[in-house]
Symmetry: C2
Subunit: 216 residues, 2 copies
DNA sequence: GTCTATACAGTGATAGAC
DNA sequence: GTCTATCACTGTATAGAC
């Protein structure tokens, strides 16, 4: 009932709130930005957030669902390509690339670049509170589970529990790199610059494939 | 000027605040707990936190410095053992174990177990705000840099920039596992239980050593 | 239905009395 | 040193205008 009657010249309040929230959350974190600032930037009344999204966390959930969608779709598209052109390079490399590449390169529509969304995603990923787990699960579990299956299939000799552990370790490298906390720059005194997706993947894929193929 | 005159029968306010904050922060996160609850549990006045620690974040910094100390000390003790008994098992395995084991098993004094402190540490580790970076740097950089050097020495054929990247990836696996967000349980429907330090290390070390030894 | 103004209970921080 | 009182601010809820 909302798709028919729209012949808008400007974006509606809901979209403007989402855009402003994406920029501000990503830039300064969840706690670092208040609703008054978001609504001011979006040009709406303070109460509009609670009207449209129920709560600040409801807004976060909507934002996440929106941003995760293109990432998951691109993942599945690349996974289908893996299955079509199997063999060379080895399947494991192809599958890991299909999983990781969209996470590092996508998410940049509506004026918020992928890196800042990655930071937001990383923050949620280390949270154990039930609400945040649910948001991440809804957004990514389907896609993630398909890739866990694909990796398991690519490593037929490895016990599936072992594959799951290593997949978990891979998620850690991905999340921590997306977080781009600046910690590795601090330790290495600025030698690394984790911002170019291609450069990251060129380092990460060989590391991970070797780890996945380690003897159990 | 504070170490001389103490002949206390009870712990002082500062310590009681730290203990209460450690428990509550770890259990419910930074934003999830207010100063009024901390001070109530510690049996002190609300203003005592700002008097003793300057701010809520000052309290966090003090808490972190206190907890990080035994971890770093144990790390360096184990690193010294590596150098004494070199050769078997291979140096890389020894060094990684020395780095990771204290992070997973220690931190449990003063009534807060290591796992909950690990969660708190993980949350800070993906934060890019300057303040949190500083807290982590002060607490861990010295120790971390020594281990980066030790790993570099154990991999003489690998360019040092490559070692730094892989070290960064290792930090990701460590932080994400410490966070224990429950995400891998969600994807695998509960097959994994990342709580026993020995079990984690038995999975993690082979994965990481294979990754570190991958051809550049 | 959508939006606004306003009020409310909570937070961390702080000045100043004791 | 410690405490009280208060400040500016937060997210949320609601009554009512269009």
């Amino acid at each position: 009932m909302s798709a028919e009657t729209i012949t808008r010249t400007e974006t509606d309040a809901r979209t403007r709130i989402l855009t402003a929230a994406a920029r501000l959350f990503a830039a300064r974190g969840l706690g670092g930005v208040g609703l008054r600032e978001i609504t001011a930037e979006a040009g709406v009344n303070l109460a509009a957030v609670n009207y449209h999204f129920g709560s600040k966390e409801g807004l976060l959930e909507a934002l996440f669902a929106q941003r995760a969608k293109p990432i998951c779709e691109e993942r599945l598209r690349l996974l289908a390509l893996c299955r079509a052109a199997r063999g060379r390079p080895p399947m494991l490399e192809q599958v890991l690339d299909a999983f990781l590449r969209p996470a590092f390169s996508l998410g940049l529509e509506a004026g918020v670049d992928g890196a800042t969304f990655g930071k937001l995603r990383a923050r949620l990923s280390v949270e154990s509170e039930e609400l945040y787990r649910r948001i991440l699960s809804r957004a990514f579990d389907d896609s993630t589970r398909q890739f866990l299956d694909a990796v398991t299939a690519a490593l037929p000799d490895l016990p599936s529990a072992e594959v799951a552990w290593r997949f978990h370790f891979m998620l850690g490298t991905m999340i921590y790199t997306m977080a781009n906390s600046g910690r590795i720059q601090s330790v290495t005194e600025g030698a690394l610059d984790p911002s170019d997706p291609d450069a990251i993947l060129a380092r990460l894929i060989p590391f991970l494939t070797a780890g996945f193929r380690a003897p159990a």
